[in-house]
């Protein structure tokens, strides 16, 4: 690329949103821009926002797909509230995204797509590029499509349609110039991606270069911007999404426990990419079983657990609800089982691609009878890796089903991840019972004094043949038993076992530098926006404490102390107050809630306002 001759401005943080038709390749464009940004060493956070429809009618409002990336020269926590730059590939993308662009923001549109037909599909009566409605923005109308066609016309063997589809690379090239992103990786990425059709690779590369060159030469863009690398902790980084981190965490748990990983899953948004990722790593002995339904998926996982595998099932709320009877069986069998719930907006089918955190009470209580299950919740895309290992550790150590909650925001969002030293990840000790007792029969429900876990003797072990089942079992022997006192005892033992995990998990940490009266208590995927909101309040001189729960059942052992130590407690959640209900019930604390249930992550500014309203 030629050297820039235009003035360069330094900025500390930028939020770019790419928006276009589902077929326009916005996710790919955003992903590439993210990779270029990552290599440059900026801190970053991304949020893809796409419809459930694979290809809604072209040009229609429901078909708009977006990808937002926030990058900065400092540590950031969220994909950003509002974009500084919106790239709109058609009128529908403009219509659905403009409301998020603050006045004065940069708007880049593909003017070729603003035809009468497309304007009508987007519900515009008049062309917004001509009627003055965009006057408050820094608008750049660029003939993206025609310039892409022009740039690719000499590439042989490419149809006009194929050439036109390279326009996302033109847009990427332009943005790469505007923010000084390195281009080599994208060029080699295109060569790899289209290795079987070099002419398509060529067209995309030409469009990409043309976009970059357009930025350099056009007078429309007077300046370009630089964002310096962030001062992150030294080490090797990669960009990672929540679902990828979960998949890697599961493999790590398998390696560290020495147990083969068995994943039973049924395709469901937004969890499917965990199944797809794990299916690529059979070289780790990972068995992925795409079952006939959600019930079989978790059933097969439990069967594999019985046989000594690390049994895992992944799903989202509408699938998890079907798994509850098997989870109940696992509670009775006291076998390890890991269920990942990548929460999405509901009820019922709801909004499959949109995040929510309203499955909390379901996973805690959505089973018949007293059926305690530990519940963990991941907080950021990269933290999903640690969360998966920790959930597996608890399941294996305590012989219990464990729920790990994530959500669509973490699943698809990404951030830089400082690669861990794999040798430093502690092993997960698994002690199968292998020897028959010195005297008498093997007792499958005798308990470990400390953990209350029962022995795990897997089929194939001579002398330990035994039967387990969903009928109530006699303490110690595991024989079917209807004795009233025994049932009361077993009910309490199962509850105690799960409650006792509190002594085996870290205390709840409180971030309270100023001695605040108000505590903000968050859990799960809202960590980023809530922590960012807290920072803003402090930036404005407000005093606020923040604690974030990674464990919801049991709560960390000091949770009562923490929430009791503040005059006021605010619990922001993307539900109508589920954690708040638990905290109030458990600790008799009159916590307030901040609740928005829009199928969107919180914006930091919204959390900030909610906190300031309570100061």
């Amino acid at each position: 690329m030629a050297k820039d001759t235009k003035p360069v401005e330094q900025v500390d943080s930028v939020i770019v949103r790419f928006a276009g038709d589902s077929g326009d390749g916005m996710q790919l464009t955003g992903g590439r821009f993210t990779s270029e940004t990552a290599v440059l060493g900026n801190d970053l956070s991304t949020f893809p926002d796409f419809p459930a429809e694979i290809r809604a009618p072209a040009g229609s409002l429901p078909g708009v797909s977006g990808f937002q990336v926030h990058f900065a020269d400092h540590d950031i926590l969220t994909p950003g509230d509002a974009p500084n730059v919106l790239v709109a590939m058609n009128p529908a993308a403009l219509k659905t995204n403009l409301r998020d662009l603050p006045r004065g923001g940069t708007l880049i549109v593909d003017q070729d797509t603003f035809t009468e037909r497309n304007l009508a599909k987007a519900g515009y009566d008049a062309n917004p590029l001509e009627d003055g409605s965009l006057d408050g923005y820094d608008v750049h109308t660029v003939p993206l499509t025609s310039m892409t066609l022009e740039a690719t016309k000499e590439v042989e063997g490419v149809t006009k349609r194929e050439a036109e589809r390279a326009k996302n690379m033109f847009a990427l090239g332009l943005m790469s110039w505007l923010y000084h992103r390195p281009t080599d990786n994208t060029v080699s990425f295109l060569e790899r991606k289209f290795a079987k059709r070099p002419e398509i690779a060529e067209a995309n590369k030409r469009a990409f270069h043309a976009g970059y060159a357009f930025g350099e030469t056009t007078e429309d863009f007077a300046v370009s911007y630089q964002v310096k690398p962030a001062k992150l902790r030294p080490g090797t980084y990669r960009n990672i999404t929540g679902n990828q981190a979960l998949a890697f965490g599961l493999i790590a748990a398998s390696v560290k426990s020495g147990l083969p990983l068995f994943l039973g899953a049924y395709p469901i948004t937004p969890a499917s990419s965990i199944l797809e990722e794990l299916a690529r790593h059979k070289n780790f002995g990972v068995r992925t079983f795409q079952a006939e339904d959600e019930i079989a998926a978790v059933g097969a996982a439990l069967g594999a657990s019985f046989g000594g595998s690390l049994g895992v099932s992944t799903s989202a709320g509408p699938g998890v609800v079907l798994k509850s009877e098997t989870v109940g069986l696992a509670v009775a069998l006291e076998l390890p089982l890991l269920i990942l719930d990548i929460q999405r907006a509901g009820p019922s089918t709801g909004m499959p691609t949109k995040p929510e955190q309203a499955d909390l009470l379901m996973v805690l209580f959505g089973r018949n009878s007293e059926s305690p299950v530990p519940v963990l919740a991941a907080s950021t895309p990269a933290q999903c890796f640690d969360a998966a290992i920790e959930a597996a550790r608890i399941a294996l150590k305590y012989r219990t089903p464990v729920y790990l909650l994530s959500d669509a925001y973490l699943a698809n969002g990404s951030e830089p991840w400082l690669l861990p030293d794999v040798d430093a990840i502690p092993p997960i000790e698994v002690d199968f019972t292998t020897e028959p007792p010195a005297e008498g029969d093997f007792q499958p429900y005798v308990r470990d004094d400390e953990t209350l876990a029962r022995p795990w003797a897997i089929p194939g072990t001579p002398g330990l043949e035994h039967r387990i089942g969903g009928l109530e079992k006699q303490d110690v022997t595991g024989n079917v038993d209807y004795d009233p006192e025994n049932h009361d005892l077993m009910t309490r033992l199962r509850a105690q076992k799960v409650a006792g995990i509190a002594s085996d998990i870290p205390e709840l940490e409180v971030d309270d530098p100023d001695g605040a009266d108000l505590l903000v208590l968050s859990w799960g995927g809202t960590y980023g926006p809530v922590a960012a909101g807290v920072r803003r309040v402090r930036g404005d001189g407000g005093k606020v404490a923040h604690a974030h729960l990674h464990y919801v059942n049991p709560f960390p052992r000091n949770t009562g102390e923490v929430v009791g130590a503040y005059e006021r407690v605010l619990i922001p959640e993307i539900n109508l107050g589920q954690l708040r209900k638990l905290i109030r019930a458990e600790f008799l604390v009159d916590a307030a809630g901040f609740n928005l249930v829009r199928g969107l992550p919180f914006r930091a500014s919204e959390v900030q306002e909610a906190i300031e309203a309570m100061l």
């Binding site: 070289n283 069998l333 089942g469 969903g470």
Partner: protein, 336 residues
């Protein structure tokens, strides 16, 4: 996990070795007792150490079965045993995994799991105790009850058209399909033997008398032995007290019973096409007053468990699984 070991390193066991210390709690006179005795009697023949044998069941009277077998066992939840057994079998190819189920468990609430286990050809042996009634819940009609069946939940008669379990299994692409009768221990054992030798899913329907809620449902073959159409691979299909009746295929592929001389079908359980077996499965109490027992179908097809193991082996040979390399895959950058 250990390597498969079917060499019977232990001294040969007797039926008694497979009895547990649990009191058997089926109703006196239940057909399940005979099936349990047949299974316990057959197990030593398997020459598989008993710690490598697992019985998995769902819910229902039949589902108590694992408690009475001195092997590993799981009494699970209604209808899900084939799914649970699939996960166990696929992850532990060294085990011999058996599913015990009933007509409600397998064909009503668990219908989906049954058909998918069969089509995948998972290496599990499924014993369906068919008594054409819900016994454990005390006498409601089941998916195999004949239409018009008067039960507690159908005082004016059932409206449902029943499943034919053999037809269903064949339609679900099962590679081994057989039928036996609870009281005919020799024939049941013969079918068990063939099922155990079969690689992949084996489906055995066992006519099982529920003497409390549906007594005598199978008397037409259980008691009237002349109505048993014994299927013997390679043998002509003849039955009746003197072998005076035969079965042949019509030109449209359906099966018919004829009297006296004639040219009966020579039974081929290994026929590559499922249609002759399906045609025979349509010979029932309702259509001809007789029904086949024995092996309808026994064909080879790759076993799901082995196919998965092959993929794992291939993947490991291509690239050793190194955790550090996995995490550092893709674009990385270093900050010093």
């Amino acid at each position: 996990m250990s390597e498969p070991n079917g060499n019977g390193a232990q001294p040969k066991l007797t039926a008694k070795a497979y009895k547990t210390d649990q009191e058997v709690r089926w109703c006196p006179g239940c057909g399940d007792y005979a099936i349990l005795a047949a299974l316990q009697g057959f197990m030593p023949e398997l020459e598989i150490p008993k710690e490598r044998i697992v019985f998995v069941s769902g819910i229902g009277c039949a589902a108590r079965f694992p408690y009475y077998m001195e092997t590993y066992g799981m009494h699970s939840i209604h209808g899900r045993a084939p799914a649970i057994a699939t996960g166990l079998s696929v992850s532990r190819p060294d085990l011999s995994v058996w599913v015990v189920t009933g007509d409600g468990d397998a064909l009503s609430i668990g219908g989906n799991h049954l058909i998918h286990a069969l089509r995948r050809n998972v290496n599990i042996k499924i014993l369906l105790f068919n008594n054409e009634i819900y016994g454990l819940t005390k006498g409601q009609y089941s998916p195999t009850s004949p239409r018009g069946k008067v039960t507690k939940s159908t005082p004016m008669g059932s409206l449902d058209w029943p499943f034919n379990p053999i037809s269903l299994a064949i339609g679900a692409e099962a590679t081994f399909v057989a039928r036996a009768i609870d009281t005919d221990r020799a024939q049941l054992t013969e079918v068990l033997r063939a099922a155990a030798a079969h690689k992949g899913s084996a489906f055995i329907e066992i006519f099982q008398n529920c003497n409390i809620f549906n007594d005598n449902a199978f008397d037409f073959v259980r008691e009237e032995k002349e109505n048993r159409i014994h299927l013997q691979h390679g043998e002509p299909v003849r039955f009746g007290a003197e072998g005076e009746r035969g079965v042949r295929l019509r030109s449209d592929g359906s099966a018919e019973v004829f009297e006296g001389d004639g040219d009966p079908l020579a039974w081929d359980a290994h026929h590559p096409e499922a249609s002759p077996a399906f045609a025979l499965s349509r010979l029932t109490r309702d259509t001809v007053g007789a029904t086949p027992i024995g092996i309808f179908r026994d064909v080879e097809r790759p076993v799901y468990d082995e196919l998965m193991a092959d993929q794992l082996r291939t993947a490991s040979e291509q690239r050793e699984g190194k955790l550090g390399a996995l995490l550092a895959g893709g674009d990385t950058w270093t900050i010093s």
